[in-house]
């Protein structure tokens, strides 16, 4: 009560004093600092991302073009028999025709060096042409074939010309010959379609991602076909029908645990159960997809449950009110309304699965396979494991190809995440 007798002024804050102004300045400074911290964090994250992309693009862009030679090949009937084109000696066809460009190279070791300028894929390419059109036998054909990896890297500047000869893949006289071809205007660097339309190869200039892309596609297909229906069915039961109690709690905790299990463990499980016990063929997209579906299943269940939960109860009541049975409430009303959310979660789960490497290594999807798989039961690689294989390869050409493969994988991932964002924005409902 004594406070009441004191003049009211003493209890009041003085908003116009210097101290008050100082306190305000301090508070505003703290506000600004918090903003700056946030900006700095974002800036740092962006810088790291830019560094990653700059480094990937910096090394990867070279893989998108390929140094190629254009010259005329005489398909000598002596080497190629019309009735057995496939068995024809195209190596000699290419070698003889190539040597016509350098008539003064005569000694066998020199000739060998000269021929080694070209990729061993050159003869296969000519064979393909002749197989397509047998009339070419006995005629001159203008072909564009890849150079060997060393020459390709030399032309792209990856192999410097000024290091001692012994430390280069390309020796001095090869450089002279190559420069002659360059002067003749026979060397070009067209877009490297091989990267997308060929499967793996030991020779970088012939290696491509087609096998890995098809393998990843099949593995994701299997993964989707397994985890999408299973995940939705499980989520519907847990969310709409399961009696809430100790069992549903245990289930829920375990589904969340499943989402947190390291992927390498799922790979081991796949190896032990799917391959060893059930005897499914190793290295196949079937097993890969099954293992990946173990990983996406919890993601889809969690996303689906969240989407089902987000459907307002008024819609359920409306349906129950006109006498819909529980399955009709779910299938006619709740599930369609939850679908955009489910799709978004599924795509994000699929994107995770696409980038997953460890489990695929354990089930042997890092095999060296030179043709795209024809189905889910054929051995295949996947995009991330292809990156793993190439990163491990000693040839210089694989350095840029590894970066290029990473860019392709990131491209797919960005597309999938973009689709998820699009679906979310397009079909988002407000009640």
């Amino acid at each position: 009560m004594t406070d009441m007798t004191a003049p009211q002024h003493e209890g009041m804050a003085d908003w116009s004093s210097d101290e008050a102004a100082k306190r305000f300045r301090k508070r505003h400074a703290a506000d600004r600092r918090l903003q700056y911290y946030g900006l700095a964090a974002i800036g740092l994250a962006m810088a790291m991302m830019l560094t990653l992309f700059a480094s990937l693009i910096g090394t990867g862009y070279q893989a998108f073009v390929q140094t190629k030679l254009t010259f005329s090949v005489y398909v000598d009937p002596e080497h190629v028999d019309r009735d057995d084109i496939f068995g024809g000696n195209f190596r000699s066809v290419v070698r003889d025709s190539f040597q016509r460009l350098f008539p003064d190279v005569t000694s066998p070791p020199e000739q060998r060096d000269l021929f080694n300028l070209l990729s061993s894929g050159a003869q296969l390419q000519v064979r393909e042409r002749v197989l397509d059109n047998p009339d070419l036998i006995g005629r001159e054909v203008e072909v564009t074939v890849p150079f060997a990896d060393g020459v390709d890297q030399l032309h792209k500047g990856v192999i410097p010309r000024d290091v001692p000869e012994a430390q280069r893949r390309v020796n001095d006289r090869q450089i002279v010959w190559f420069d002659e071809l360059l002067e003749d205007g026979r060397v070009g660097t067209p877009f490297n379609w091989t990267l997308f339309f060929s499967a793996d190869s030991r020779f970088p200039e012939l290696a491509g991602l087609a096998g890995a892309i098809v393998g990843s596609f099949y593995a994701l297909l299997v993964c989707f076909l397994l985890s999408f229906p299973l995940g939705i069915a499980a989520a519907i039961y847990l969310e709409e029908f399961a009696p809430k109690g100790r069992w549903s709690d245990i289930l829920e905790v375990n589904i969340n645990n499943l989402a947190a299990v390291p992927s390498v463990v799922f790979g081991l499980l796949g190896l032990a159960v799917f391959i060893q016990f059930f005897g499914l063929p190793r290295s196949t997209p079937l097993v890969g997809g099954m293992v990946l579906s173990l990983m996406t299943l919890p993601t889809i269940i969690i996303a689906t449950r969240a989407a089902l939960k987000a459907v307002p109860p008024s819609i359920r009541e409306a349906a129950l009110g006109v006498g819909a049975s529980p399955h009709q409430v779910v299938l006619h009303h709740v599930l369609p309304l939850a679908m955009p959310g489910i799709m978004t979660g599924t795509i994000i789960g699929m994107a995770q699965a696409l980038g997953e490497t460890a489990p695929l290594l354990l089930i042997g999807m890092n095999a060296f396979i030179t043709s795209p798989p024809g189905g889910i039961m054929e051995s295949a690689t996947a995009l991330p494991t292809q990156i793993f294989i190439w990163a491990d390869s000693p040839e210089r050409g694989f350095v840029s190809r590894t970066s290029a493969a990473i860019l392709v994988l990131l491209g797919f991932l960005i597309m999938m995440n973009g689709l998820a964002v699009f679906l979310r924005n397009r079909f988002e409902r407000r009640w």
Binding site: I315, R316, A318, V322, A324, Q328
Partner: protein
């Protein structure tokens, strides 16, 4: 006074549609209703009033067993429609909800076309033979809900695009389309503006010809305007159940009087 006597006379003749005997409702350990006894007459509007949390909505939701969907809810006692116990194990809840339609507090049309909103009930119950017949049901239902003239040219547009009052009448039409015997309305006008409210109230009066209507309302004037009988609930107890004029002009219980005169609620 003669008029009142005449009305009281018809009331006595009215057949009982829904009857409740000693109904207790529990949500888990909490008891929400205590020994409710009531006889709701056919082809009349029965209003349930009372302060928030008094159990009026709980009772309403017992009549079509909507409380079954609430975890931990249990009902004791007897509720019968046309003398048949609706909590009997042999009763099909889906069929019961077809016989007892419901309109909710917030208009909740399906995010589908106006036509599909009305047609949904008949479709799931298979109560029509031919597509033309379904169109007939949709038209009749919309007419009964007084919405036909407003929407007949845009039946394929989404029901969620209508105004709040129209949406609520759409929900009434949706309930009507299943040809129920009883329509339960849980504060159907509380989310509507006064003009839309007046329109729905008129509609309720018209619907009484075909259906038995039970309406829960917070609005005492509304109860007085639309209902023939009024039940006053307080703290889970049915305090008083009388002809509406009786409740509003001469309540017997002082709690009823207190609520009606605005002393609490």
């Amino acid at each position: 006074m003669d008029v009142q006597v005449a009305e009281a006379g018809t009331e006595q003749k009215a057949r009982t549609k829904v009857s409740a005997r000693d109904v207790d409702v529990f949500y888990g350990d909490k008891q929400a209703l205590f020994g409710v006894n009531i006889d709701i007459p056919e082809h009349q509007v029965t209003a349930m009033i009372g302060p928030s949390g008094c159990g009026k909505s709980t009772f309403l939701r017992c009549i079509n067993r909507m409380n079954d969907t609430v975890d931990g809810a249990s009902v004791r006692g007897l509720i019968a429609i046309d003398g048949q116990d609706i909590y009997d194990g042999r009763i099909d809840v889906v069929q019961l909800r077809a016989r007892v339609g419901m309109v909710f507090q917030k208009p909740n049309p399906f995010p589908k076309s106006i036509f599909d909103n009305i047609a949904y009930g008949p479709r799931i119950h298979g109560t029509f033979g031919h597509k033309d017949e379904l169109e007939g049901i949709v038209q009749t239902s919309l007419e009964r809900a007084g919405l036909w003239n407003e929407v007949k040219d845009r039946l394929s547009e989404p029901g969620t695009g209508l105004s709040g009052g129209q949406q609520q009448r759409l929900c009434i039409a949706r309930a009507v389309a299943v040809s129920p015997e009883v329509i339960l309305m849980d504060e159907p006008c509380s989310a509507l503006d006064p003009i839309a409210t007046a329109r729905v109230e008129e509609l309720i009066d018209e619907l009484r010809e075909h259906y038995t209507i039970v309406i829960v309302t917070h609005n005492m004037q509304q109860a007085a305007r639309v209902s023939q009988k009024t039940a006053f609930f307080h703290l889970g107890i049915l305090v008083e159940y009388e002809a509406t004029e009786q409740i509003f002009t001469n309540p017997r219980d002082e709690r009823t009087q207190g609520y009606i005169t605005g002393r609490y609620g």
